[in-house]
Assembly symmetry: C2
């Protein structure tokens, strides 16, 4: 129940190639993602509410260090308490501690039965509240995703799904498990949805029909990208907050977009408290406004005890938030680890944080 | 769905005190365990096959570093990709990188329905094979535990469970979820058990009867401890291997105990490939023999691409295996991190590894 792969392997191709084994790799970021990048950012995706994030699926890593040494973090146990958790240290380090050349990943069993449900709400707050209640009830959904009215409208306009959707706040659910458990979980979710004013609750359990029903979720980002005209750009960002704060964050962020007169859609892996905004804007005229909007959203998430990024990583764009998020002390610990393993800052320099003051990093 | 606690809080008392919230902390090591020690060893327990290990349940840690600085690893998001995963680094570091003074832990929802099943086999290999097939089938059991004939006989002799058990290789299962899903999972497990020659498949879903049925598992270690006479000692150890190697490891380890004429029992969190031996021996006469037996079991686990410890940690007793397990390079990386964060090796010195050659640790 594990597989050894190199970093440029596509997770979708990997899953296609092992389908006959009855096993699959459950972390599902965007379709173009490759294993190396998935490790670098500790990515997640729609299945994270059920299966966790990338760091939870690493058995071992082969890493080239800054000084050219090659290490393998451990052998092949599914769990271990032997020494420091180097898998967890390198995963999510955005290539700044070493270069991953091979990874052994855990696999999961393909569920016996699956299902997809879609339902609409009057407000994003109602949709978010229903989603959080599903998680709180302990119903083991495979995924729970929120899309706003703008996003659903964009999917309609781009016409890639072969049907028209109601342009309203919408929740998408995946279900998986044994036949009876899927039925039980669908019933449990339906009750919570109805209790929170959800309507048009559609369920599919046939494989092809499930894909058709999931298609609006799948085509959300691409539809948004297709809306671009000459000179227009896309800014996509993500934050995550404690579950109890999600409805509030979603509502305020939505109002903020409207108040600034920006064209942006909202989408979230809401069961993890993880939430994305994708803003389409005029590169010349609106950049400042978009930057303000994104900054406000991140600041709000941090005030709500959240994180500046739930799954995209820090890169260059979110370095400025690191001190506020983890504190000066934790940031210094990260820099100390970085400097100890890569004294000359050779590995992906300038990402996550800068070495402003060489004397202060110890 | 999280809770902030100090390190000397007992996980059992914590769960008792939050029961009314409908939430619980699912990591279940031995009853006396406290949160600080659970973090230090990255512990697990019987629920790990369903819920994962300690590192998967940490939201943030407050840590006193060697130089007296106090850091909080992050705010309160349930997931994050912002910077290095310090939660994962400190969890399992056995107090060698810092002193944890507070932890925010994720909580899970108490399942609607639970169940317990017990079944016996002719051989440990058959029992282990059945357990691995259950995991491979993707049946989301709450726990799957293996106990050998010696262990069951000891439980009988100590008489703490109010009934007599068949002194045979035995599997214990926990089930949890919605009503129908528990039923489905019990049916799925029963079919696999019968296919592998299991018999006396007993199931309980009533709460008190579940506890009675689980009692032999719960009293396994204590019963073994009670067998001690004057001068006798107990050596308890654990290893973990890839799932496919578990039946072989279990069989050879059992034969090894018998060949050496030692009195020891076997017990395992077999769904994780994690496996314990508890040996009762004469402190004066048999120490060398027991040491050989434990060393052989660890060497065998490492040859099978496993780990010298699945959940107990390295401490002093397993330092000698670290190079074989993770390799010289990974061990050097651990020492480099240790030395960078604790240059004078003040924090729990001598655990996990030694600093043999101060010049070589960078």
């Amino acid at each position: 129940m594990d597989i050894a792969v190199q970093p440029s392997v596509s997770w979708m191709e990997m899953n296609a190639s092992i389908e006959d084994s009855g096993l699959f790799f459950p972390v599902d970021p965007g379709p173009p993602a490759k294993v190396g990048g998935m490790i670098a950012t500790n990515c997640s995706g729609t299945n994270a509410v059920r299966y966790g994030t990338m760091k939870d699926w690493i058995v071992n890593l082969t890493v080239v260090l800054a000084d050219g040494r090659i290490i393998k973090t451990r052998k092949r146990p599914r769990k271990s308490s032997a020494g420091y958790n180097l898998n967890g240290l390198f995963t999510g380090s955005e290539g700044t501690l070493g270069f991953v050349t091979e990874a052994t990943l855990k696999l999961a069993t393909i569920p016996e039965q699956t299902g997809v449900a879609v339902t609409t709400f009057s407000t994003m707050r109602d949709a978010a509240t229903a989603a959080i209640q599903v998680v709180h009830a302990g119903i083991p959904v495979g995924a729970v995703e929120i899309l706003d009215d703008v996003q659903m409208d964009v999917v309609n306009q781009m016409g890639g799904t072969g049907r028209q959707w109601k342009a309203a706040p919408t929740l998408f659910f995946k279900f998986s498990g044994s036949g009876l458990s899927v039925q039980d979980n669908i019933d449990g979710v339906r009750a919570i949805v109805l209790h929170n004013g959800g309507s048009n609750f559609e369920v599919e359990q046939d494989k092809a029909k499930q894909e058709a029903l999931w298609s609006a979720r799948k085509q959300a980002l691409w539809s948004m990208m297709c809306m671009r005209e000459t000179g227009s750009e896309v800014w996509s960002t993500d934050v995550a907050v404690p579950l109890s704060r999600v409805p509030e964050l979603v509502e305020i962020s939505k109002r903020d977009l409207d108040d600034l007169g920006l064209f942006g859609s909202m989408l979230g892996h809401i069961g993890d408290g993880n939430f994305h905004e994708t803003i389409l804007f005029d590169g010349d005229r609106e950049r400042g406004l978009v930057s303000k909007c994104v900054h406000d959203m991140v600041r709000r998430a941090l005030e709500m005890e959240g994180t500046c990024t739930g799954e995209h990583g820090v890169g260059l764009g979110k370095k400025e938030f690191m001190v506020d998020e983890v504190g000066e002390g934790s940031l210094q610990v990260m820099k100390t680890v970085k400097t100890a393993l890569d004294p000359h800052w050779l590995m992906n320099p300038g990402k996550i944080f800068d070495l402003h003051n060489p004397a202060s990093h110890k």
